[in-house]
């Protein structure tokens, strides 16, 4: 699975499950965490999604804007860890 595919799948899932707004789309560079779009109660959902959808573990101490703050950066981590 390539990066763009991950971005597309994750973006769709985030809009459906976290933002609860199926009419919405997320740009790969749209700021997620520091903008407050994803609130702190949903950060752990991002980690669970990455694990369930791609088998990649994001640790709790990585759930902050310094590690990733948009879909592109998150997808890069996933690609890297999938090896």
């Amino acid at each position: 699975m390539d990066k763009n595919e991950i971005i597309e799948k994750l973006g769709k899932k985030i809009c459906e499950d976290i933002l609860k707004d199926t009419g919405r789309t997320l740009a790969p560079d749209e700021v997620l965490i520091s903008s407050g779009l994803i609130d702190s109660f949903s950060l752990v959902d991002l980690a669970l999604m990455a694990e369930q959808m791609f088998g990649v573990r994001i640790e709790d101490y990585e759930l902050n804007a310094d590690t990733f703050d948009n879909l592109e950066q998150l997808a890069e981590i996933i690609v890297e860890r999938k090896g």
Binding site: K20, I33, S34, S35, G36, L37, I38, D39, S40, F41, S42, L43, V44, D45, L48, E51, D60, Y61, L63, N64, A65
Partner: protein, 562 residues
């Protein structure tokens, strides 16, 4: 008795008792004995004294939940000054809005000192320049360590405080909440804790485990002051760490054999839904004798989900407990689930909604469950009043009013608010509920307040932000909470009337509203509902009617329960 004397007595009797374990992600647990607590607090006390901060003066603490905050809090107490914790600035919040909130806190409470980190030097210096009563800005990095400071301690002005002096201020967040600091005396806190500790049968065998923020009454009173002042070990972590790794709470319970834990209702759902089985391996929860649900509307389904998920790790059904509490009574008003199982009152839905009477279910008609908050604790009386101040009989819904020997002295420097909150000696809580068989059921709110994840949010603070967004008709918006069963807490909805020129740009306006609200108040909106001119209902006096607009919204969007 006062806080300083009690703390020093405990430190004298049990110097090597490990009273606090501070758990931080990625670091080994910090162990703190009473002796170490006094030494750390003594450094802060010395710093305050060196800057001429006196007894009875307010010190605002802006520190992350950490050992330093623990030291700073008790250092302020030992100095005889009055600590007030301001929630720490998170990465999501706009610095300008945070600064505005801070200024509203400062202008009302008129602190003598602010204790924070060096990073805030520039902003705070500017605030200090405009507020001459601020004698000192103290930075945690500059608090002296070492023998020189320790040698000077031992004579703490805090020990001279009278039981009737104010010991601490407690605020809700946001500009509105920060302007209403609940002022409590030493005596009030001891009255509450003497009574509450008996109610929950607190003993030296207990271990309290908490992730709750210290700027909230449940975190500060039940999960910080009570354990430390009553010699019960406390395992504490930061809410920032917990929300990213909720399983760490259970790891702490398992490792330290925790017996007591307080959680807001949403946390029961959150833990049940968001913890990986792999992270629970080897965890043992059978030591927990009470998991006390408190600080937001309680749901039977949340208790069920929690038990279903965690009984396999030894969690006992008897551990589920409930409590109704507020800072104005120091903490607890009622408690259930300690000596008996929590009562769930199954009542007739229609009579409840239409007549505001909680009639026991009959003839298999549709029913709802109300969760009991239990009986009033021994020093607190509870009544239900109608709008004219008359006491209502059992099972009739009205405003909950309370009277006790641990009430607030007042909202600090807000005599007007204090006077308005009492009626013939009874404190009007602004919450709605009913009494049945001596137990209290909290069913709603009279006051305009949203509770998200246990945190109080004033709708007017959100509306003030929405009003500033380009494309929103100024003054034509409303914010309110809608209960979300899945999350076990309220979602926040904003309705705003769109200006005509922006009809095509509704998506951008909605996004901007979400962004501004989150950055200003740290609340993520569930829905932004944009409407055309004249959608919103106003009262006869021209104010936006929150309850009526919420009803209209629920009806239009098909959420209506009735």
């Amino acid at each position: 008795m006062n806080f300083s004397k009690r703390l020093l007595e405990l430190a004298g009797d049990y110097p090597d008792r490990e009273i606090i374990h501070f758990l931080k992600t990625g670091e080994s647990d910090q162990h703190l004995t009473y002796r170490a607590l006094i030494e750390g607090a003594g450094r802060y006390q010395a710093a305050l004294r060196s800057r001429n901060v006196l007894q009875g003066e307010v010190v605002i603490l802006i520190l992350q939940q950490s050992i330093e905050l623990v030291y700073a809090y008790f250092g302020t107490i030992l100095n005889g000054s009055i600590p007030s914790i301001m929630p720490f600035l998170t990465e999501k919040l706009l610095p300008e809005k945070y600064r505005k909130d801070l200024v509203s806190l400062i202008e009302i409470t008129q602190p003598s000192a602010i204790l924070t980190y060096r990073d805030f030097t520039d902003e705070l210096s500017e605030i200090q320049a405009n507020n001459a009563f601020i004698k000192a800005l103290l930075f945690s990095e500059e608090i002296e360590t070492g023998a020189a400071v320790l040698a000077g301690t031992g004579n703490y002005p805090g020990t001279e405080r009278d039981g009737n002096d104010i010991v601490l201020l407690q605020h809700s967040s946001g500009s509105t909440g920060l302007q209403k600091g609940v002022a409590l005396t030493h005596q009030a806190v001891f009255h509450q804790l003497d009574c509450y500790s008996k109610t929950i049968r607190l003993s030296s065998r207990d271990v309290i485990v908490s992730w709750l923020p210290l700027y909230h009454d449940m975190g500060l009173i039940a999960c910080f002051l009570m354990p430390i002042l009553y010699n019960v070990p406390l395992e504490i972590m930061s809410p920032f760490d917990w929300v990213r790794a909720p399983h760490r709470l259970f790891q702490a319970i398992s490792h330290y054999r925790g017996t007591l834990c307080w959680l807001p209702n949403f946390a029961y759902n959150f833990c049940a839904q968001k913890i990986r089985p792999a992270d629970m391996e080897g965890i043992e929860l059978s030591t927990l004798r009470a998991v006390i649900n408190c600080s937001e509307p309680m749901r039977r389904s949340s208790h069920q989900a929690f038990l279903e998920r965690f009984s396999q790790y030894g969690l006992q059904p008897s551990a589920i407990a409930t409590c109704y509490a507020m800072a104005e009574n120091v903490f607890a008003v009622t408690q259930d689930g300690i000596d008996k199982a929590v009562t769930y009152d199954e009542i007739d839905q229609e009579t409840f909604q239409k007549d505001k009477i909680a009639r026991k279910v009959f003839n298999n008609r549709p029913s709802v469950y109300q969760v009991s908050a239990g009986k009033p604790i021994a020093n607190t009386q509870v009544r239900i009043m109608d709008d004219d101040g008359r006491e209502l009989p059992d099972r009739h819904v009205g405003e909950i009013v309370i009277k006790s020997n641990c009430m607030l002295t007042g909202y600090y420097h807000r005599e007007d608010e204090t006077v308005n909150s009492f009626s013939e000696g009874w404190f009007k809580t602004g919450d709605l509920g009913y009494l049945a068989e001596g137990e209290l059921y909290v069913s709603g709110r009279k006051k305009d307040l949203i509770i998200v994840g246990g945190k109080n949010v004033y709708p007017q603070d959100i509306e003030a932000v929405v009003n500033e967004v380009e494309g929103v008709h100024p003054g034509r918006c409303v914010a309110f909470g809608v209960f979300n069963e899945e999350k076990g807490t309220e979602d926040v909805v904003v309705i705003a009337e769109l200006e005509r020129d922006f009809a095509e740009k509704d998506r951008q306006v909605a996004d901007q509203i979400r962004k501004m609200v989150t950055q200003s108040t740290a609340v993520a909106l569930r829905q932004v509902y944009l409407v055309n001119d004249f959608w919103l209902i106003k009262t006869s006096s021209g104010k936006i009617a929150r309850a009526a607009n919420k009803e209209k919204y629920l009806f239009e969007t098909g959420h209506h329960a009735g």
